[in-house]
Symmetry: C2
Subunit: 248 residues, 2 copies
Amino acid sequence: MITIVGIQGMGNVRAGDNVGDLIVKAVRAQELTFRSGDILVVTQKILSKAEQRIVDLKSVQPSERALRVAEETGKDPRLVEVILTETSRVVRMKDGHLIVETWQGFVCANAGVDKSNVPEDETVTLLPVNPDDSANRIRERVKELTGSDIAVIVSDTFGRPWRIGQMNVAIGVSGMKPIRDYRGSYDMFGHQLRVTMMAVADELASAAELAMGKSDGIPAVLIRGYIYEKADGWAKDLIMPADSDLFR
Amino acid sequence: MITIVGIQGMGNVRAGDNVGDLIVKAVRAQELTFRSGDILVVTQKILSKAEQRIVDLKSVQPSERALRVAEETGKDPRLVEVILTETSRVVRMKDGHLIVETWQGFVCANAGVDKSNVPEDETVTLLPVNPDDSANRIRERVKELTGSDIAVIVSDTFGRPWRIGQMNVAIGVSGMKPIRDYRGSYDMFGHQLRVTMMAVADELASAAELAMGKSDGIPAVLIRGYIYEKADGWAKDLIMPADSDLFR
């Protein structure tokens, strides 16, 4: 059995907060304990706040390029300026949507720049500079404070082509392989599986979202009972290289 | 707390089997009981077998078009013939991959035609003709046999652009809204959410996959504790119409 439990009561995370400390405290307040083998999924939003990856749009002066893209997409030129700062290339700009590749390599809408769940008006969050490092710091802090060897996933909410609605995916990983590779293993009738590589870190991020909601103040989730491959692993293992991507 | 439990011991499902009966029997053998509000996720594979959506490639005569596509993709021409029969249009054909839109509207590799977990060599499964109907039949049968009002999701394993690895998604839905629409609701600081529509049926399918594996003979999963919107809902609600799709 796999169990998924939301971690509540962390309040509004502020710049400079140690997210690992906050999570351990909240877990204890909920009368839970970490166990080795647990998976902790943490939403990007609180890491961005703790790591000061926030921008007040009132301080932003849009460039000529941002003004052009803003006109084409109908977005706030200052928001576009911030998005472009996070962007290595624009993948699609159409019907008010701006899908880009971030300089971390993620392909997503608006480079992950987001307004929700930030107290100040006109303030946006950017993705953590290196979400794998963010995940790793939390993992090490949980180990220090509790002795438990866990895996940590940093999640964000991405759209996708062809299907309506968004799903949570893993943008940071520490302590586990994000892909379960079945190539060469055998199905229940002894036939060899050829192509299956499951993005289990993304599936774990999606499973965690079910316990998060969007407005409930549950920025972290504990998953127990899923047996993962303990290993070094990074969210970049989930990024399709541009030259083998059929849709970039 | 959300719990995810794999349903084991269903053996090899055969043409004509009533999947609802098999699942209720397996759930009881595992000393579980259905409760109203549960979500049952069933892999497409056993439905395809029960609904005789299987083709012996030895019986297939490839068309001229299938021969051309087979040459371009390096696939078995008979397999390509079956794929094209399930296809309404080819979305991408490159580097040995064949991404199509099925006549049900799903965009996926090989039109969902698949060789794994079928006992016979050279036999493939096709997607159920109408996976929403398949889900609905199971839901009604579970209700008849146990009195419990549940939701049912039919899952399949799809790849996606930009990211490595596959995830489970919902190709059939009954008894719940597959999308949770946050548009117009408020975040924890009282700001209105503008765009968020979470594909919760896909997230549930992905969560279930974590308890399925690819070779463990666990074709169905029971999820408990996730509060969903009880309503009529169909997997087609998850399909982006081609004219608003940025990548088709």
